[in-house]
């Protein structure tokens, strides 16, 4: 089956910043993404868990999008302007998709 090269960008960010990030991505022309809750983890600031969060302040979310390679720089510029000062991880990986026209 014919496949097409694409980039998969996964950004783990504080939940309070999620809508700001997705707004910036949309402005940069990203038309599709998924948002997943992150259950817990550990990092430079110590361990944390979604359990018992009375405030959105401690929660994290993951925003995932798959885009054409030539649109990656615009997406990263937009994302970095939001996440620069915040806790989070941005990862980029190569992937392949079946229907290139959707990305």
């Amino acid at each position: 089956m014919q496949t097409h090269k694409a980039k998969r960008v996964a950004i783990i960010i504080e939940q309070v910043m999620q809508s700001r990030l997705t707004d910036a991505m949309e402005k940069a022309g990203v038309t599709g993404f998924s948002v997943l809750p992150v259950l817990g983890g550990s990092g430079k600031s110590g361990g944390w868990s979604r359990d018992g969060q009375v405030s959105r302040a401690g929660a994290m979310a993951q925003v995932i999008c798959v885009i054409r390679p030539e649109r990656l720089d615009a997406l990263l510029d937009a994302a970095f302007s939001v996440v620069e000062r915040h806790i989070g991880i941005v990862t980029i990986s190569d992937c392949e998709v079946l229907r290139a026209e959707r990305f």
Partner: protein, 325 residues
Amino acid sequence: MDQILNLAATNLLSPIILSFALGVAAALARSDLNIPEAVAKGMSIYLLFAIGFKGGVSVADHGIDATLALSLLAGLVLSAILPLIAFALLQLMGNLSRLDAAAVAAHYGSISIVTFVAATSVLESSGIASEGYMVAVAAAMEAPAILSALWLVSRGSGAGRMDAGLLREIMLNGSIVLLVGSFFIGGITGVDGLAKIEAFIVSPFQGVLCLFLLDMGLVAGRGLRGGSGVLTPGVLAFGVMMPLVGAGFGLATGLLLGVSAGGVALFMVLSASASYIAVPAAMRVALPEANPSIYLTLSLGVTFPFNLTLGIPIYVAIASALATG
């Protein structure tokens, strides 16, 4: 003194405080006891709606007077100036960076709605009347503290991020919208409206509050377990001293306004409590470099349990002894 001790003993052995203690103990013992996130959210919606509605009914029943507007104004002023006092105290006691001190200070100018709900419950069970519009004062005190904290940061070398989106999120925070909205519904429908939904918002209230405080105990216990290492003795002492300082300002305000003993007690509770819902979220957006472990642990792990167990009885007893309104 006897009155304070009696009220403290009664309060400590009440179902709501014992439920909170169970949650703290379970979390410290690393039990897997857990209230699902959606259930906790549902209970908080119920409690906010019930307390707002009952406040509105009380205003409809007793009428609006000049002290309502003055109380709202006083709440705004208290919320704006308490962070400045907290900031100065932290500079003396805490050895925190300017950014961390400002972020902590914002929490102590804003309010804890759960502490307010618990205090109204104690007042009701003690037969002490309070003004229904104190719910609106609580809502008014949520936001000004955040602006004061950002001003404190801007006076130093740092700069907080305050954009239109954040301002909208603060002002239209779900808790504020629900509290104010249900207050207006209660005010419009009055005693007749209350009679129609009384079985839902009055009788189950204490039971739901018990379960909610069990969850808050779990959260506070986990916060203490995970974040105790970040608090120095000076910062810990601040977590107990600042509520008393804030309560003093609330007491003076309530007495000056001439509100009832219950109203004075609630002014003290609001001024003594520290936010752990609206302000932490705002601080993560506006001051992301400030350490959330410090302000969340201090607010939720130290000040909230202190107010819930010892603070409320002290404030209620002092207000009952001094208020003449």
